[in-house]
Amino acid sequence: MYFVKRILFLIPLLLVISFLAFALVRAVPGGPFDRDRKPASPEIERNLRAKYHLDEPLWQQYLRYLGGILHGDFGPSLKYRDHSVSDVIGQGLPVSLTLGAAAFCFALGVGIPLGFFTAARRGRWQDYAGSLAALVVICVPGLVIGPILVMLFAIKLHWFPVALWGSPWHAILPTLTLGLYFSGRIARLMREGMLDTLQAEFITAARAKGLGEIAVLVKHAFPIAVLPVLSYSGPMLADLLTGSFIVENLFQIPGIGVFMVNSSLDRDYTMVVGLVLLYAALLLVLNLAVDFAYSALDPRVKYE
């Protein structure tokens, strides 16, 4: 029942978000036709505005837009006028999804074992080395590590292609650039979760009944300790799947992360709103999924 209510609540939330994005991009001075190859004459611009209904009052434009969405039409892109927003997103999204999913798996695959291991070795040199590595990775953002990886492994050593997208071979450097930061975040969350959980009374009870240390850590502590990682995974996955401007720009990858930035710089109104809606829907659904998984994993959590 609780989750049905949450799902129904998504609809007004998405409406508010779409309207906010709709009004916000139109509030910026300048228009979508400013950056055309040559400045349009006033008549041409007036005709263009009329064609895309930009001369109507805001609420009328918004209602027209909503009506389009009901038919699955997110409008034409105002910058790439031969393409609809759905076309552009449909072409870029699979690429961003693949890259984001790879980075997500990398972040979890490295972060969770590292955090678990450092917590299990708390206070010894393995803990200090592992925790330092996790922190260093957080402090070296993608815009630093990406160019360094390219210079070292692509240009100097020729192990990987410099850029572009195609084979799995092309995906390795972008995945590292995108995923390293998040693997550090995950490792820290996992370590903290483990340390917190290991102080709980049910762990003392499990030890008291004579369980081995590995069984205590893996079977009893881990399912509770991984919950902070779980709640971080929702927003993280939404960020990763909608593409990263830095990585896509650096490696010339045709995803949608580049559009997220460029469309708002170009005042491509329909594209911005479409991308905002995509991101918001993804984030809200993932957060819902996280809460659902929470109640499944932690027997103490009950939603009213």
Binding site: L20, A27, L135, M260
Partner: protein, 331 residues
């Protein structure tokens, strides 16, 4: 206890030690060797960044090694010099000394981080405190607003804010009363600070609201109310002092994230405008020079390393502050 001390806290513990929770936290922080080392490192880095422009002064320059005496924006014919005795960090495309540019860039990045954090602090604390204190319908409306903003990609907000402010600035400039170039540069800085602060206040608002909500019906707050204190006084004297610890801890995490965000914006060309440079714009101009013929690694590695060291020191200090303010910590 002086009158500014928090009006409540872990009562039995502070009674035993005759110290407020903030003082006890500070004492724990000073005992943490790693934290104190990082704090000293951070302080010496900041001092270095601040003093660096002095080294190129004619009075001082002859007494120093030549690598230290380059002015940050001085153009020379020595393009793309690798690191060496003359240029410790090498030079860039215009023959400018990278070391002095990195110091200047770090200074700007830190400034942006601090001011942006201050903006997000003011908005976040006010929003969260008012929502938590009023409760009920106001709380619901204000926090749903936070939820909505949370669900939108922040980069779009930043771009909208910064481009709007810059467009307004351009409009002023075309009008009869022109501003001086320095004033324009300052206004652009302010637009950047505002934009960064305005998108990073959301977590702060949530945290403060949660804390205030749990405090507002405690006995000492009711006592203040019974004694006739106004809303503003109750918030300022009785509630907020109990939230300071959480706020400080959160602030130390906000500074590095705003520095990172600024470097991202500078990378997009929306941040610090040339000839001024932040660490982010230095890294951006370094990665523009990537090509398969010559590798100018120093243009990325040095600004990147400076960014990493600064962020590491900030993070260590932040971690230690969080441990020190942890209510479960023992002396």
């Amino acid at each position: 206890m002086n009158s500014d001390a928090p009006s409540a806290g872990p009562f039995n513990q502070s009674l035993a030690l005759r110290l407020g929770p903030n003082q006890r936290a500070w004492r724990r922080f000073r005992r943490n060797r790693l934290a104190m080392t990082s704090a000293v490192l951070l302080a010496s880095l900041v001092t270095l960044f601040l003093l660096w422009p002095l080294f190129s002064r004619p009075g001082l320059a002859p007494h120093l090694p030549p690598g230290m005496t380059h002015a940050p924006n001085a153009v020379s014919d020595a393009q793309f010099q690798p690191p060496g005795a003359q240029y410790w960090f090498g030079t860039d495309v215009h023959g400018r000394d990278l070391l002095s540019r990195v110091c200047g860039g770090a200074r700007l990045s830190l400034l942006v981080g601090l001011v942006g954090t201050a903006v997000s602090l003011v908005i976040g604390v006010l929003w969260g405190a008012i929502a938590g204190y009023c409760g009920g319908r106001w709380d619901a409306v204000m926090m749903r607003g936070v939820d909505v903003l949370y669900s939108m990609p922040s980069i779009i907000f930043v771009i909208v804010l910064i481009t709007t402010l810059n467009a307004l600035l351009e409009k002023w400039q075309s009008g009869p009363e022109r501003l001086s170039d320095a004033a324009v540069q300052w206004l652009q800085f302010i637009a950047l600070f505002g934009g960064l602060g305005a998108v990073s206040w959301l977590p702060m608002a949530r945290i403060v609201r949660g804390q205030v909500l749990s405090l507002r019906h405690r006995a000492f707050v009711e006592a203040g109310r019974v004694l006739g204190a106004g809303h503003w006084r109750i918030l300022r004297r009785h509630i907020l002092p109990n939230v300071y610890g959480v706020i400080i801890v959160y602030l130390t995490m906000t500074v590095p994230s705003i520095i990172l965000y600024e470097s991202f914006l500078s990378w997009l060309g929306l941040g610090i405008q040339p000839p001024e440079a932040s660490l982010g714009s230095l890294i951006a101009s370094g990665s523009e020079q990537i090509n398969s013929i010559r590798i100018y690694w120093w243009l990325i590695v040095f600004p990147g390393a400076m960014l990493a060291v600064t962020l590491l020191a900030l993070n260590f200090v932040g971690d230690a502050l969080r441990d020190a303010w942890d209510p479960r910590a023992e002396d």
